[in-house]
């Protein structure tokens, strides 16, 4: 089908298929999926500005679908999201201004600085989260060896990080409590300044919030992983609305293309969100660490080695694999639940 705004001819099955895979990963890990979709569209001849704008538009639609499902599961903390929104907006503005200042120094300078920062951030996140997941698995193995359980493992019980415990101990007024996130008291300023920090990285690196906000909500604020996913998706709706509007004003959104991607993503988002019911937080964080690692490697391939095809294959291939893996987790979970149900 020909898309006149994007000036490109793309098969509908490709748009719906890539949308579905992004939706599955997004619903599972609380991501908008811009970092996957933008290079995937550019590979088909869509200009970068149109790819970014269209990606934001579909993100808005599929984040609404995912958030509504997570809302039903009790995974969305409105209180935390409301405090984060102004912080995120301020942070994005600061990040965008730093980017403009860097651009004044020269385009090549910017590409390497941003690329380097992006790689360091993604790889550090991957290593940090992987180490945490490994610790949780060891704890679970020890606990199970000491006291074997019938169903589930000790990894189901999420441990609040030391950093989050320290952040929650800061009594800077006003403080809020959040029963959904199982936080007894946390200063509004901690959430606000964390959101600013995540926003700066979002504005500077041009990535959606998921990659930065999800670990921040887990390790700094102290949210359980599933609540972090749901709350992050609510934030994606806000940033997606603003981003879609400003990009559409500049003529960067192909509405029809965004709609077809959204159709796939909406279906996938349901699968991803449902899968979070059948896995524990450690498994979600483990998959997140792997995705962050691959994202980092794809940036190295794209920005430093100038191997765009390899970067695209890495991103699209891993997204498709992750989507299949998450679907498999969902199917196994449903079968196990059916077997555990008395009288089944």
């Amino acid at each position: 089908m020909y898309f006149p705004v994007a000036e490109a001819t793309i098969a509908l099955w490709y748009l719906i298929g890539i949308g579905f895979a992004i939706g599955v990963c997004g619903g599972f890990m609380g991501m908008g999926g811009g970092w996957i979709l933008v290079p995937a569209l550019m590979a088909l001849g869509v200009r970068e500005n149109i790819a970014i704008g269209t990606s934001l538009a579909q993100m808005l639609g599929h984040a609404i679908v995912s958030t509504s499902r997570h809302w039903q599961f009790g995974n969305v903390s409105i209180k935390i999201a409301l405090v984060m929104i102004p912080g995120t907006a301020i942070g994005i503005e600061i990040g965008a201004r730093i980017l403009e200042a860097l651009k004044a120094l020269g385009e090549a300078h910017v590409e390497h600085t941003i690329g380097g920062l992006y790689v360091v951030l993604l790889l550090s996140l991957a290593i940090f989260v992987y180490r945490d997941v490994r610790r949780a698995w060891r704890r679970a193995a020890k606990a199970n060896a000491a006291e074997p359980r019938d169903g589930g493992t000790a990894a189901d019980e999420e441990k609040t990080s030391r950093l989050a415990l320290w952040a929650q101990s800061l009594k800077l007024c006003p403080c809020i409590s959040c029963s959904i996130a199982q936080i007894q008291s946390i200063s509004v300023w901690v959430i606000f300044f964390s959101a600013i920090a995540a926003g700066v990285l979002t504005g500077l690196l041009g990535v959606g919030g998921g990659l930065v906000r999800l670990p921040m909500l887990i390790y700094l604020i102290g949210c359980p992983t599933t609540v972090a996913v749901g709350t992050d998706l609510l934030e994606v709706i806000i940033s997606g609305s603003y981003g879609t509007f400003t990009h559409a004003l500049k003529g960067n959104v192909d509405l029809l293309m965004a709609f077809y991607i959204f159709v796939g993503a909406a279906g996938g988002a349901q699968v991803g969100a449902f899968a979070t019911r059948y896995v524990n937080g450690t498994q979600i964080r483990g998959i997140f660490a792997f995705v962050a690692l691959i994202a980092g490697l794809s940036v190295i391939a794209n920005s430093f080695l100038k191997m765009q095809t390899l970067a695209l294959v890495l991103i699209v291939g891993v997204t498709a694999l992750m989507a299949l893996f998450i679907i498999a987790l969902l199917v196994i979970g449903i079968k196990q639940e059916a077997a555990d149900t008395p009288g089944a």
Binding site: P4, V5, A57, Q58, L60, G61, H62, A63, I64, V65, S68, R69, Q72, F73, G74, N75, I180, S241, T244, F245, T246, A248, L249, K250, G251, V253, L255, L256, A258, F259, F262, A266, Q270
Partner: protein
């Protein structure tokens, strides 16, 4: 279909503010409609979607 494509193209080229507003509203409305339809379908299929409180209560039981 061609009429829709032509109309969107016209708005995109000549009425940018209107196009931007329509884009945001269309995607938000699509999201809400899909969420509603999928919620209806899951309840029709008899898949329960317990809240966190209910889940915790079940686990405690």
């Amino acid at each position: 279909m061609d009429t829709v494509v032509d109309t969107l193209q016209q708005w995109h080229d000549h009425q940018r503010l209107f196009y931007a507003t329509v884009t945001v509203l269309a995607m938000a409305a699509s999201g809400l409609i899909f969420a509603f339809i999928l919620q209806w379908l899951t309840s029709l299929a008899g898949i329960d979607t317990p809240s966190r409180g209910e889940k915790d209560k079940k686990a405690a039981d």
